[in-house]
Symmetry: C2
Subunit: 197 residues, 2 copies
Amino acid sequence: MSTTAPTRSRKAQIDRTATALFRARGFAATSMRELATELGLEAGSLYSHIKSKEEILHRVCFGLAEEFFAGFAAATLDSAAPIATQLRLAIEAHVRVLTRDSAASAVFLQEWRHLSEPARTEFLALRDRYEAAFRGLIQQGIAAGELHAPDAAFAALTLLASLNWLPAWYRPDGKLSPDEIAHRLAEQLLNGMRSYE
Amino acid sequence: MSTTAPTRSRKAQIDRTATALFRARGFAATSMRELATELGLEAGSLYSHIKSKEEILHRVCFGLAEEFFAGFAAATLDSAAPIATQLRLAIEAHVRVLTRDSAASAVFLQEWRHLSEPARTEFLALRDRYEAAFRGLIQQGIAAGELHAPDAAFAALTLLASLNWLPAWYRPDGKLSPDEIAHRLAEQLLNGMRSYE
DNA sequence: CCTACCGATCGGTAGG
DNA sequence: CCTACCGATCGGTAGG
């Protein structure tokens, strides 16, 4: 009660350090001993804070999923706004999540396959729902004549692909700020779907 | 000399099976015993055909790199052709490699980080050169007034990102043929960079 | 291509 | 949070 830091922050610290390692080496190639060393303690000690290696991965993956959904929901709150505006806001929200924690994002995008069942299937269902949300927005935009694309599903897939490549090249100390990146990406991707009629 | 299949095809068979496993589980989480079982032999026997697990990964990654470069070179052979045409051909060539062997492509895109030095650095240099080739083409197109983009580097990055997402969703038995996919992707991505002046 | 095996390392636990 | 340890599994080798 007097000398040690609270457990909560230790757990968060473990998650954060593990996320960075999972990103750099991959989940399977990261050992708990490596993680412990990085945190300045012994491997066995980790287990007073967490239950298993996979529990960390689970928290990172599902935590990020929540952030993505929250961002999308906020971007489309005003359902009376032009679809192009909603889509722009959704793109910017997505990029904001990606840049706010690019290590966790990279783990979310690349390491989810190491989740065991049933978490893996649940995760994929969430990802599908998120893709479907973007697809739905694009479909609405096409129906309203605001957007143009030969195939909404195709457009949604390439749009998310372009965005999700970001953690691979984004550097927090780069010359473009997160907001500038979000703006440019939205500009370029919406430009490709602009309706000229 | 009379009863067994030639070693060359056995080695190719090992590469192919390993590639599928690396893709499904990741390089680090794939064991040589698993690979051996899949091939109907014992783990130790693999080593009469290969030197190490990483040797397989090395072959897959650098083999794919060669294919990508060959495709790009063929697409830009006629340097007098309009840049938009060369870019379209380069996109289609890239997609053709991705769809021809999507397992190897997924390994090329995701598992290269498990290469040890100096192969890892060499690989990244090749990837950079390839990106630079696309960037250069887009820059030429902008300079010639054929293409429009606020930032060539940005455009090259998002273009390759859209293409490289393909192995994640491409199914050989899907309703779109590789050629149709290549055509649509080229259409959509070039549309986003069309010059309207 | 197999049998038999090597040393190293893994995730995780018991007991304090 | 540490010490001491568990059984399992890893990539790879020797010798045939």
